[in-house]
């Protein structure tokens, strides 16, 4: 099949790509788990222009293993005549069968997903800006009398009249544009919303609120939540949480005192639960992302898929800090 093989040279045969991804992820930063993002697709009007009516919802699924091989990660040349491509990368993912075996990509669960196509986005963690400590219980509080413990990796609240679980701590999060955490519950824990407080001293107006469609995380299974940490038009478009292919919409609102460029003061989740239920959090991080857009499919084999991707935007945080 010369068309598929192209100029790949000697083909490596059947590779256990998941093993390759794991090995690279553990030993280097070349492989990481990326967030697959397909923005909502709007129905078109009779003139072929997208309308305000969503045809298929946004797909936002974290934890897709991938190897990122950038050619240019960030090109800072001044734009001239629309020269706006500021990065290019070749991204390797497992084969489509493997991808569809992940619960969130399983078409039996998630009927909107077919395969990774042009203009889909693979969001990578360019740099973690602030990682909220979960290996210790200090600075974590519930609003009841539940007991807080940590196993050295995650922090756990055993609920006793609690409805929120909050970490307080002042830290720079200026460069961050996404917020990610892993949550695991037991019993009837239902995630209602989560918040980040940014701006001067923490008070009740300095929040960005992620009000998700209430859902119960599957017992004793870690669920990754990965949402944008920005303001502006997101207030109308919101975001998503996916669990086994089901989408839970996330409405995003901000308080009057919220400043996305100010330090993070607190992170909080709110939930409903019965006493003695547990909720655990880990890998809570504000990070700076790079959104790679799929421009072409280089190769699709039974072992892996290679996408040629470009990055069409980013931010200059030095200027963001200077102009603030």
């Amino acid at each position: 099949m010369p068309g598929l093989i192209g100029s790949q040279g000697v083909r490596p045969g059947a590779l256990n790509m998941n093993r390759v991804f794991r090995a690279l992820r553990y030993r280097t930063e070349q492989a990481q788990k990326v967030t697959y993002h397909r923005p909502a697709i709007y129905k078109t009007d009779t003139y072929g222009v997208p309308s305000g009516s969503i045809g298929s919802n946004e797909i936002l699924v974290p934890d897709l293993p991938a190897i990122i091989r950038p050619t240019v990660t960030a090109d800072y040349q001044q734009e001239r005549a629309g020269n706006n491509i500021i990065g290019a990368a070749r991204i390797y993912t497992p084969n489509i069968t493997t991808i569809k075996n992940y619960a969130n990509f399983d078409q039996d669960n998630n009927t909107d997903f077919n395969e990774i196509e042009g203009w889909d986005r693979l969001i990578t963690n360019y740099r973690t800006i602030y990682s909220i400590p979960t290996k210790v219980t200090g600075s974590w509080v519930g609003n009841g009398t539940g007991v807080i413990t940590s196993d050295g990796e995650s922090v756990k609240l055993t609920v006793n009249s609690d409805t929120s679980f909050t970490h307080t701590g002042n830290a720079n999060s200026l460069e961050a544009d996404r917020l990610r955490f892993k949550i695991r519950g037991s019993g009837s824990i239902q995630l209602n919303n989560f918040r980040s407080y940014n701006g001067g001293n923490k008070d009740s107006t300095k929040y960005i609120d992620y009000n998700n469609d209430n859902f119960i995380p599957i017992d004793n299974t870690w669920l990754t939540v990965d949402v944008p940490f920005l303001t502006g038009s997101l207030l109308t478009t919101g975001s998503s949480i996916y669990q086994t292919g089901s989408r839970y919409g996330v409405a995003i609102t901000t308080g009057s005192g919220f400043n996305v460029e100010a330090n993070s003061q607190a992170f909080q989740i709110s939930f409903s639960a019965d006493n003695s239920d547990t909720v655990e959090l880990k890998e809570v991080e504000y990070y700076k992302s790079v959104s790679w857009h799929v421009h072409s499919l280089k190769d699709m084999t039974d072992g892996y898929i290679i996408f040629n991707c470009v990055r069409t935007r980013g931010r200059d945080d030095a200027k963001r800090r200077a102009y603030d």
Binding site: A74, S233, T312, D316
Partner: protein, 180 residues
């Protein structure tokens, strides 16, 4: 102080585009507001005075780029008058040309009449209203007397798959009295 007409004209042009205001029979109307948020709020259009750095660009946006300037018409003896009081000065008519680029990406949306305008519909909206704003650019309140303006219309309209943007470009010439 030395005359600084080019900067005055350029900044007034940008200011006008940022207000998105044009004249109507009933007074004025506003097509959009100047943006700068990342991402922009609904109804905001970012206006840049030069091509922004790649990391800074916020869509939808208008990029104003001065591409040429020079003497348009010289008078015998260079004697001119300007202003309401016919102040005497030396000078000539001076022209300055701008290219204006409209750019809209896939995420851009402005609600017009309750409907979200996107992509081609949004660039159409920005082109016509951009032309309206340019025609009614208000250069008052400055020390520069603008005498003419010429707008060449939009061209190069289309989708650029590499940039993932819908684009249009127009040229404009502003002629002012280069009094000195």
């Amino acid at each position: 102080m030395a005359v600084d007409h080019l900067n005055i004209v350029e900044r007034k042009l940008i200011d006008n585009l940022r207000t998105g205001t044009y004249n109507t029979a009933a007074g004025t109307a506003t097509a959009w507001t100047g943006g700068g948020g990342s991402p922009p709020a609904n109804g905001e259009v970012a206006v840049y005075g030069q091509f922004p750095t790649t990391d800074e660009t916020i869509y939808p946006c208008i990029i104003v780029e001065m591409v040429a300037n020079g003497i348009e018409q010289q008078f015998m003896g260079q004697d001119i008058t300007f202003g309401a009081s016919n102040t005497a000065a030396k000078g000539e008519l001076y022209g300055v040309g701008f290219n204006l680029y409209l750019m809209v990406d896939r995420d851009s949306s402005i609600t017009v009449g309750g409907e979200p305008y996107k992509e081609r519909r949004l660039i159409n909206y920005l082109m016509l209203n951009g032309a309206n704003v340019l025609m009614d650019c208000d250069f008052s309140g400055t020390t520069t007397e603008v005498v003419e303006r010429h707008f060449s219309g939009f061209r190069d309209i289309g989708y650029n798959p590499d940039l993932e943007t819908w684009n249009a470009m127009a040229s404009m010439v502003v002629v002012f009295k280069n009094n000195r």
